[in-house]
Symmetry: C2
Subunit: 496 residues, 2 copies
């Protein structure tokens, strides 16, 4: 599978720059052409295909000591990588919650790769681009323009930052030096909250057990009475409630907590109100969906991703914090080698590193900035409306098919359902159907558990998905279900 | 400064894909041409120039609602961003510890932007690329091939991961649920360790005070006797020493702790031995420098960056852990919506998200993989040798100039010195000289404090820097120093 290296890349004697820039330039053109062709025809091929064993093995070479051929390395990419991607650029990828990317963001990555900017700090335009992205985010979410924020890999990191800022507010800046000694802090989120909130509690040393998972109502939203009872109970135990995490677009069903009620509750009890809006935040760009998020503008912090519903290429998450001083008090330090000045390149404080854990930081802001500038917020909002409309259409189709069964209401853009049959193990049957569809390359939904039952989960996030794609998906999964039930006489899809 | 949007970008009605792929393709070609021209002539312009106020203001527009012009947005990039970058691609950027980037990595970013892969998990080739980068890293560092690892933004995150894995080893997996309750853990690093080790202790809830900063010898390496005394003292206090952090290439002077001694000490006292080798790790690719790192292969974990001495575009850090099980025990969770399967796209466990905090993860592995394949490890090692050689040359020049004074020995690639004069405030004078050089666009060194004195710090990391660049730098800073002392009759550069 591997290309022989006929023409080793020749760099100038003392640098990594090539003797022949023309070779880089012309290969760059070819890559642009190939990537445009890939995206222009992205729906034609399979969504995903399994890597043959020999492809997987072909990666496993010793560390190459000598220079390789530039075009040959690209040929390796074309042979080993491109055919076996996860497929989230494909219109029929509706698994997990993945954005589809966009060509403007792709070109921005080329530019960012060329500039090679480090956005940890200092006084240069790439940092201004990021600041503008943060200001636009504040505007989108109805936050004051004085809010602070920073781009990170994704909402997992953004939620960690939120937990740490809330920890500082609860315990004061001394916690940074002294650590958590017999710490009584407890936080609250719903049982539907994303697991990364719990991971953040773990990493921050507070422990996942200190995150109370509050039951939900039939709409998969946090039960406010249960929340009040939990807080009262914890206070009676001498614990210190410090943070309430609302979900705006839960991972399993897309449900949105009553953020207004959560905001009021937080204020009443002196809690830090954080919203995990990993994909939901972008629904603020839709006039139609914005009311569902009422209350998000009251939050102390919001975590979300641009690489999901805003279709910016991976990775690009964001944390926004209302109180910039508290945010900086959680992360800022000033070692001698990062001395800030009033002029020269070391000016421009506060620096992005004062608002998060990263000191080395790539120019992910550029792909966000260009995506927003070129498409405009209204178009991004229209894509979101369309996702939600497709989710409703799919829900109607599922309801109309006797062999299918909805497992959760559709709040936004996630549809959870299953194939019904007289199978002993419906969970296994539905997991098999999903894997069948994936292996056929026809479509990529994923699975989750809803009320103890395995659900086929279709998350409409990808801007390329159409009605026709969903029709193919449903037809395909009905066929797969029937095939599996026919193959096994114990099963009968009419039986339930 | 802003371009009028003559031709709003026209996407297809229901997606973000363009009506006209040709416009994307041809702009992509132009961007490749422009970036190649930028890099081919990168030494010609100023290293850095201050953003005029009107440029800074030009970013501050309301969130654009309507579509913009694609070429116009690129024109904005060219007018507002490209001229005002930090300058670390320029040969005379020797500030902080920044890599220069490389054109192969730049092209890889274009490809990664197109594929839009999410490397949090699942079974696809981009994850295999990352696994191969981790295997190559293990080979480079002399780790077993069973070591685990994951790419992150940078060493700040990688060090946090190391602290968390060490925390799990010390306290068991229960700490994830229970949090730190009256935790007696203490860790050790030298006074020269990078501040992000301390930040990691802070974030992990252990507190920065629980990181004992051990004094250094004249070579800026951790004093082993002082370390032994500190551990004995802490044990006597009933505290639990759990982690020892060695530095391989300190941020201020490039010093390398005696890693072999640290390894033996760790083993003797049951400590987790972590090495922060942010830039130093790559010196393993130099036959000449490798002996300085002896002992790194014995570490329990190593954190380092590919965007520094390996010149991969920002950002690309790495954590490598000897004990993959313990690594996974620190991060792995299995929520229902991330159910792992034996076949289909949800196969392929363990997933990268099992080894770090990120669930959404871009394809930063591709730029590392292609950089290594195209240049080969020997060429990267040669660049490192050359950096160290340039550092020695600069040190000789500094020693030969009566107006200059070395402030620390040169262990590897960092040269700390200052301009001498009869100034009342030599620290301010040297800070001014550095800012003068930056504002003139002539060169970008940075500053730090060495034994209480402000040093001009030249970190030779960038592959483009040459002898001629260093000559310009020294000539420029002598001229700046003389200008400043001449302007102030109190100062006299011969006076000391």
């Amino acid at each position: 599978m591997r290309t022989t290296h006929d023409t080793p890349f020749t760099a100038k004697p003392d640098t990594l720059d090539p003797q022949d820039w023309e070779a880089v330039r012309s290969l760059g053109h070819r890559m642009v052409d190939d990537m445009v062709a890939l995206l222009a025809g992205v729906g034609d091929g399979p969504v995903w295909q399994a890597m043959p064993g020999e492809v997987r093995e072909a990666f496993k070479t010793p560390l190459p000591r000598e220079a390789g051929d530039l075009a040959g390395s690209y040929a390796d990419f074309q042979a080993l990588v491109q055919p076996y991607i996860g497929g989230n650029i494909h219109p029929r990828f509706v698994g997990w919650v993945h954005g589809g990317g966009n060509p403007v963001g792709m070109l921005a990555e080329l530019l960012a790769g060329g500039l090679n900017a480090n956005l940890g700090g200092r006084d240069h335009a790439p940092v201004e681009v990021e600041r503008q992205v943060i200001r636009w985010s504040a505007e989108m979410l109805g936050f004051p323009s004085t809010a602070s924020g920073v781009l990170v890999t994704g909402t997992s990191l953004a939620n960690l930052i939120a937990v740490l800022v809330a920890r500082t507010r609860a315990l004061g800046g001394a916690v940074r030096q002294d650590g958590l000694q017999g710490c009584p802090l407890v936080a609250y989120a719903s049982t539907e909250a994303h697991n990364c909130v719990s991971r953040a509690m773990d990493m921050a040393g507070l422990g996942t057990a200190a995150l109370r998972l509050i039951p939900c109502d039939a709409q998969h939203r946090m039960d406010m009475d249960a929340l009040a009872a939990a807080v009262t109970h914890d206070q009676a135990q001498g614990l210190q409630p410090f943070m309430l995490v609302g979900s705006a677009g839960t991972v399993d069903t897309g449900a949105i907590d009553d953020l207004m009620a959560l905001s009021r509750f937080s204020r009443l009890h002196g809690l830090w109100f954080h919203v995990d809006a990993a994909f939901g935040a972008l629904a603020m760009l839709s006039a139609q969906k914005r009311p569902l998020l009422a209350g998000i503008s009251e939050a102390d912090s919001v975590a979300f991703d641009f690489h999901k519903w805003a279709q910016v290429p991976y990775d690009a998450g964001c944390i926004l914090v209302r109180d910039a001083d508290l945010h900086a008090a959680t992360f800022a330090t000033q070692p001698a080698y990062l001395r800030r000045e009033e002029r020269g390149l070391a000016a421009g404080r506060p620096w992005p590193t004062d608002f998060g854990p990263d000191l080395s930081r790539g120019f992910r802001a550029l792909k966000v900035w260009m995506t927003i500038k070129v498409y405009g917020a209204d178009k991004l909002g229209a894509v979101i409306d369309r996702s939600c409309e497709l989710a409703q259409q799919l829900a109607r189709r599922v309801a109309a098919e006797p062999e299918l069964e909805m497992l959760a209401p559709v709040a936004l853009n996630v549809v959870c359902f299953r194939f019904r049959a007289a199978a002993a193990d419906l969970d296994q049957l539905n997991a098999d159907i999903v894997a069948d569809l994936q292996e056929d390359g026809l479509a990529v939904p994923s699975t989750t558990m809803i009320n103890g039952q395995l659900a086929i989960r279709v998350a409409l996030v990808n801007h390329r998905t159409s009605e026709a794609d969903l029709a193919l998906l449903v037809d395909g999964l009905l066929a797969a279900g029937r095939r599996r039930t026919a193959a096994n006489p114990q099963m009968n899809s009419q039986g339930i």
